[in-house]
Every structure is written in C-alpha cells, then in structure tokens.
C-alpha cells in the first residue's frame, strides 16, 4: 500500500501570514499532486509535479506556490494566506497514467 503522509494535520494561520504544507511519499512515484476540498466543489487541483525540480499549475493555482525539492517531498506554499484559503488540503502521489494514492489531509483555517 502506498504511503503518503502530510504535515501538519491541522493548522490555524493569520491573514497575511505564510503557510507551508508538506507532503512526503515513500513509494518512488514520479507524480505528486496538491488538491483542496471544499463543500460543493469536490477536489480541485492546485499544483502538481512530474518529478524533482518540476512544478506545474493545476486548475486553481492563484495564491499558491509549490516546491518539489526531491522525489519524496512536495510542498504547497501560501505566501500571503487569506480566509478564502481555509479548506482541507490533500496531497497525492502516483505514476503518470496510474493509480493515485492520497494522504490523510490537512485542515487549514485562516483567521
């Protein structure tokens, strides 16, 4: 079973602050993804990566940056957090064209 972990699991941030969400996978998957989940929207893709050093914009990238320093790690960065970014964030990994495996999610509240 693929292992994807996320940290922190819960985060409260202030408006205008910087937030970094981290994701780690131990299955040597090439692709990693960041989604957010909001009521009525399902999961929406923010950024993804094909491998170390690469990041690509997903469907809703505005206000977010991503970093993939290694095969195992993929971070989502909110430079100036806003209340509209309050959500549950999921990281996933998988090889291209193959099954995705999800982490447990991070609940972010921006006050």
């Amino acid at each position: 079973e693929a292992a994807v972990t996320q940290s922190p699991r819960n985060k409260v941030a202030v408006t205008g602050g910087k937030v970094t969400l981290s994701c780690n996978q131990t299955n040597n998957h090439n692709n990693m993804y960041w989604y957010r989940q909001d009521t009525g929207h399902g999961l929406r893709l923010i950024h993804y990566s094909y491998g170390a050093g690469s990041t690509e914009k997903g469907d809703i990238p505005d206000g977010y940056k991503a970093s993939r320093p290694s095969q195992e790690n993929f971070s989502l960065i909110l430079e100036l957090a806003t209340p509209s970014q309050t959500s549950v964030y999921f990281c996933a990994s998988g090889d291209a064209g193959a099954e995705q495996f999800f982490g447990p999610g991070t609940r972010l509240t921006v006050l």
Binding site: N31, Y33, G40, G42, L45, G58, G97, A98, E99, G105
Partner: protein, 111 residues
C-alpha cells in the same frame, strides 16, 4: 461546465439493497478512479480502471471510454458503505496526466 459529473448527488439506501452511481465526463478519459471518503475524511481507493470492468466483493465498476462514462454498482449495501463516493477521470495522452474529480455522491445506508 463541469468536466466530470456525478449522479446522483445524494442517495439514501436501506441496508441490503442495491444501487448504482454514475460518472459522466466531457474529457477524453483513458483512466478512471473511484474513491470512498469516509466520515473521518480519509480517501480510500476503490477502483482504478482502464476501459473495462472490475469487481471487488460487493462492488463492481465499469468504464466505457467511447461513451465517456463510468459506473459503480453497490450490491447488498451495508452501514459501512456510507460516505461520499468520488470518481476521477484522466487522460494520459500528451504526457499531461491531470485527474479531474467529480463533486461526489453522498451515500447514507440506514438499517
């Protein structure tokens, strides 16, 4: 409009009955995944499909790429089947593998 549409959006089943969930997509999908999000929020993998069918216990799923839809059949529904079911469709052509999620079907199984 939504690239992946799930129906119904909500469903209530009596324990022991059968039902089918559907996912229609307007993208040229080559793969489909089905997930169950349990009440704690965790996303569990149910099926990963290329065109064809798969079965696992009381669950059976089919993916027709020509007609652009997928179905998930639940037989003999149990209380633990309650949760939100998501489908995600993706095209692996062109090397740009970005799964797109539907908004989910919320299922409640009652005694």
């Amino acid at each position: 409009g939504d690239k992946v549409k799930q129906s119904p959006s909500a469903l209530s089943l009596q324990e022991g009955t059968n039902s089918a969930l559907r996912c229609n997509f307007s993208i040229a999908a080559t793969t489909v995944q089905w997930f169950l999000q349990n009440p704690r929020g965790s996303l569990m993998n149910l099926f990963y499909l290329v065109p064809g069918t798969k079965e696992n216990g009381r669950l059976k799923s089919a993916f027709d790429s020509k007609e652009s839809y997928s179905t998930l059949h639940i037989r003999d529904a149990q209380l633990e089947d309650s949760g939100t079911y998501f489908c995600a469709a993706a095209s692996s052509s062109g090397g740009n593998y970005k799964p797109t999620f539907g908004k989910g079907t919320s299922l409640v199984v009652h005694p």
